[in-house]
Amino acid sequence: MNDENVKLLHIAGELTSYFLKHKSKDLGFNIRITDKMTEISINARDVVLSPEQTEKLRVQMNNPRQLEVEGYYSNLAGGGHVGEELRLVSAMTDVEEISVSETEGTIIRLRR
């Protein structure tokens, strides 16, 4: 498997881990790979984050892309640990959308 696909696995694993910790039982995942970019979106249809949780998630994800951090530490994302890995995911991606609603649950859309 090439490096890019391994990184996608780590990102997917970390986002899945985040929603499983929020007791989600209905998770939808989509990865779309084009020539120019890869779009990643995850939808936890049964998780409606509180305003505080949403704000915390936004703060964690709202970081600049850092190629040097991604290049070195990307293997740490996607494991079973509780920590700062969402910040690592945010260093590996650009956040397109974080939305929370009663009807659709929680959606995170990223691209890289």
Binding site: E68, G71, L76, G79, H81
Partner: protein, 423 residues
């Protein structure tokens, strides 16, 4: 309100961060010029470059205090310049790497031996068709293996020109190995050993040293350590780290609140305090760690020299990337306790360095509590006093090597205890 807004904008400025870090590199250079004469400095710099550099080679003993600080300051400034040219944001990892290079610029890294390693990582990037930016942190931290270059060049009996060529080739080969290995090794301890390159370089050094021993080759590096606590170093160090705290208070809009936010983190990789709490609060944390390291050395009546000040600078650097007084103290306490009970004295070189560099395991205390931190410190001292033989001093981050072993052994046990408790 206006002041807070202004300070927030100030904090976001990369220019400000580069200026402040460059100021501290320059301060080391100016300090060097202030304490020695130009002729002593020139001779000292040449002596530093010509030394084999294996652990422990105290540049203050080899070339004098002035030359050692000028070597450290210039090295750090050059790496900072490379970051600037590459458009790297000075986040926690980058800041930690600058201070680590400055610290080891006092005992092992010099203006000759770091570049082949960096060239090797650059060549790896080219061969893999990756941006060098992806691997720049690995290149910077990877200079832990710089003694290989000096050892082959100056201490293996080759004439100067063949020695230089072989030393550079050896450094490039090591640099080529580093990126893939460093990425792999960080997964083994799951980010609980902050000096991950030390863990990686320890294994590389062990393989190289073992191969050399197959052919009966030994290293010529020796234990070079200056004793005492020169007043000029005590005063200079106190001013250096205290100024970080003062500057941090001036820059940060809400320094206490943001420092409290830093102290709440486990510190496990990747915990970037500059991103979490801003540059000002991070500077305060770095200054506090620097003073903590200084206080420890003075309280146990240890020596202030290249290696110990290097350890303090590294601690302070990782104050931007995982270490804070709350997670560092239990590790230092563990090393101190076992040091008191051991066959060594607490102010002997190995024990002092283990207390300072042992904070590579600070995330264990941060994540699992102070008792786990003390146990980690105890095991760390036992291991670090034994692993140096394996790589023969080729790996400057000996405590990072030991820290990786300790974290790898302790982590599964601590995880089981935590899961049982949580369930």
């Amino acid at each position: 309100m206006a002041l807070i807004e202004k300070n927030t904008k100030l904090e976001e400025s990369e220019h400000l961060k580069y200026t402040v870090i460059a100021f501290y590199c320059l301060a080391m250079i100016l300090f060097g010029f202030a304490v020695d004469t130009p002729s002593q400095i020139i001779k000292g710099m040449l002596d530093i470059i010509n030394s084999p550099d294996t652990l422990i080679t105290d540049y203050m003993m080899v070339g004098g205090i002035g030359a050692a600080f000028i070597n450290a300051g210039i090295l750090a400034l050059l790496i900072l310049y490379i970051y600037k040219r590459m458009g790297i944001n000075l986040t926690g990892a980058a800041t930690a790497s600058i201070f680590t290079i400055a610290g080891f610029g006092l005992f092992g890294k010099n203006l000759y031996n770091v570049w082949p390693i960096i060239m090797g990582v650059w060549l790896y990037s080219k061969l893999k068709k990756e941006s060098f930016r992806n691997n720049i942190l690995i290149a910077a931290f990877g200079t832990a293996l710089s003694p290989i270059v000096s050892e082959v060049t100056f201490a293996m009996g080759f004439d100067l020109v063949p020695g230089i060529i072989l030393g550079i080739i050896m450094g490039i080969l090591v640099g080529l190995l580093l990126p893939s290995l460093a990425r792999y090794f960080v997964g083994i301890h799951q980010g609980y050993n902050l000096y991950n390159i030390g863990f990686t370089a320890g294994f590389i050094g062990t393989v190289i040293m073992s191969l050399l021993r197959v052919f009966g080759l030994t290293l010529k590096g020796e234990f070079i350590w200056s004793y005492g606590r020169p007043p000029v170093l005590m005063i200079g160090g106190l001013v250096f780290f205290s100024s970080m705290i003062v500057l941090g208070f001036l820059i940060s809009p809400a320094p206490i609140k943001k420092l409290q936010a830093i102290l709440k983190n486990s510190g496990r990789l990747v915990t970037d305090f500059i991103i979490i709490s801003g540059f000002g609060a991070t500077l305060i944390n770095m200054g506090l760690l620097g003073l903590l390291g200084f206080a420890y050395v003075i309280l146990v009546k240890g020596d202030l020299n290249g290696p110990t000040i290097g350890g303090i600078l590294t601690m302070a650097g990782f104050g931007a990337f995982g270490t804070h007084p709350r997670n560092a103290l239990p590790i230092m306490a563990g090393v101190y306790i076992i040091g008191r009970l051991s066959i060594w004295t607490v102010n002997s070189p190995g024990v002092i360095l283990a207390a300072l560099f042992g904070t590579t395991l600070a995330p264990i205390a941060g994540a699992f509590g102070w008792m786990a931190g003390i146990i980690a410190g105890i095991i760390h001292l036992a291991i670090v006093m034994n692993v140096g033989y394996l790589h023969g001093g080729l790996n400057l981050y000996n405590n990072g090597f030991s820290g990786g072993i300790v974290a790898t052994i302790l982590l599964p046990v601590l995880e089981v205890i935590r899961r049982n408790r949580d369930e």
